[in-house]
Structure formats: C-alpha cells, structure tokens
Symmetry: C2
Subunit: 162 residues, 2 copies
C-alpha cells in the first residue's frame, strides 16, 4: 500500500482568505469538532449530520471513506466498519467560513445509512403552519426499515442520548 500524503491545514489569517481563498483552513469549535452534513449522492437526501475532529477530517480526505467523531462514544468512528454501511465519498465541500463540511456519499447494498434501519436519519417530517392543525406532530416519510438494528448492532449501545 502506498503511503497516503499528509493532509495539512492552513492558518485562518483573514476573513477574505477564509471565504475566497483556496487554502483549506477549517475552523474546529471549542470541542475540537467541525460539523459535517452528509447527503446521498443518488437521492440527494440528507442522510445525517455528523462531526469530525482533525484526525477524522484528515482520514476522510486521505481515504475517500467518511470518518466521523462519535460524540456519544468519544471515539473516532469509521462509519460502516461494524455495519458495513460505509460512506464512500463522491464529493466533499466546505462552506464560506470553513466551519462545516458537506459530503456527498454513495452507500452500499441496502441503501440504509441510519442506525434505526432507515435510508436517512431524517425519516419523519414536521408539519408546518396550517397543516399542524390537522393531526400528528411528526409524520413518517419512510414506510419500512431497510434492516433490523437488532441483527446488525446486537449487543452494542444505542448512540441516542436523552
């Protein structure tokens, strides 16, 4: 295996450079994390919002497979290493002030990305304005799970925090 070239980050010296330059100079927050929006390259759906520390961002750029920082487990998280639901990065972008990443990914096989078993983590919608008067607070947008979490994650803790 060839050595992967190191990923280095530039300094954030001016608003103009950060917004209009071509130097990657990400802003990590007080926890050392940068937010990452992940969308499905095929459907366009938002799959999840994750977070990366410096190492996760570097590994994602180097390997083309999404790495995140699990806030629940406080550990580097190579998405799919356990479940097989790898996020293969098709395109990676950064926003104006370089404090958010956008990954467009392809996902294998079942088309699932969410630990609950759905395609997207966003499987429920919130009715707005006039529609709110008519019924439930949340409405499902996906009818069936793509896999059974009991099979895939047997024995592992659920990442959802109350």
């Amino acid at each position: 295996m060839t050595e992967l070239p190191a990923v280095t980050f530039g300094e954030r010296r001016s608003v103009e450079e950060v917004e209009e330059g071509t130097v990657l100079a990400p802003r990590f927050d007080e926890r050392g994390l940068i937010a990452c929006v992940t969308t499905d390259h095929a459907s366009g759906d938002v799959l999840m919002l994750g977070y990366m520390n410096q190492q996760a961002l570097q590994l994602t750029i180097q390997t083309g497979e999404a790495h995140y920082w699990s806030r629940t487990r406080q550990a580097l998280w190579h998405k799919g290493a356990h479940s097989g639901l790898i996020h293969h990065v098709r395109e990676m972008r950064i926003d104006d002030d370089q404090d958010t990443i956008w990954l467009q990914v392809s996902i294998p096989l079942s088309g699932a990305s969410c630990h609950v078993g759905y395609h997207s983590c966003f499987y429920r919608r919130i009715p707005l304005a006039d529609e709110r008067r008519q019924g439930e607070a949340l409405i499902y947008t996906e009818k069936t799970r793509r896999f059974d979490p009991q099979d895939v994650y047997a024995g592992l803790p659920n990442p959802t925090l109350l």
Copy 2:
C-alpha cells in the same frame, strides 16, 4: 391576522419514544441550540448549516419561513429580513435522535442564499485521495456571484469568525 397556534415540545422520556414516536421532542445542546441543515428544494444543494434556539424553531414551524439563531450576533435571525433572501420552507424534517433539523426551502429571485453572494455556502470542494496530488487545496464549484455583498450588506459586519 389570525393567531398562530402555539408550538410545544414533548419530553424526552425514552430512546424508543424519541426515535420511533410521533411526538416532537427536540434536543437542544448546552448552548440551547439545535443544528439545522438547509437544502434548496429545487437543486437539492446544501445551502447552509444553521442553528436554532427554541424560539427560532417555534417561529419556523408557525410561519413556514426559516428563523435561525445567529451565533455571531447572538440574536434571533429571520433569514432574508434584511437581504430579501427569505427561506420559504417546503418541507421540514427531524432526525432519529431529534437533535438536528432538515429544512428544504425555496429561495426567491437571484437563487442566492450565501452572504458571500453565491447560491450555496458550499461553493468550494475539497479534492480527495489521488486528486489531491494534482493541484489546489480547494476548487471552486460556482463561477460567479449572484449578487454583490457590498451592495446588499453595506455597513453590516461580516458574520465569519476567524
């Protein structure tokens, strides 16, 4: 004008209820904020990642126009109130653990959403893996601005922090 019905949030009593129920029970972080991914309903592009406090979330649900919390200005932010670039919400979703909102919005006229003048805040991509060896760190994905920020935001402070 008719009175808008109040938006109330449920308690987060169990992981099962939060993940599989139909009660809106958002999780605000230690700053009192919930993250919000905003995409263009027409192009599917991610436009921005914003944050909402409780009031911003309630106003968005009530009015169908996106309201955010500006972390730079530490103030409620009715997007477009100054620039005219209102985010009209076409669909609103929440994720599995209810700590992230996804808004699909339509934007008026110029098709711009970003304060730098572009369609999306994500107007630069990061080359991955083998492509990194060939050139620049960041590559522009939008060629021209939709408006001149000097005209639209004259005299206002830039929200980008170093």
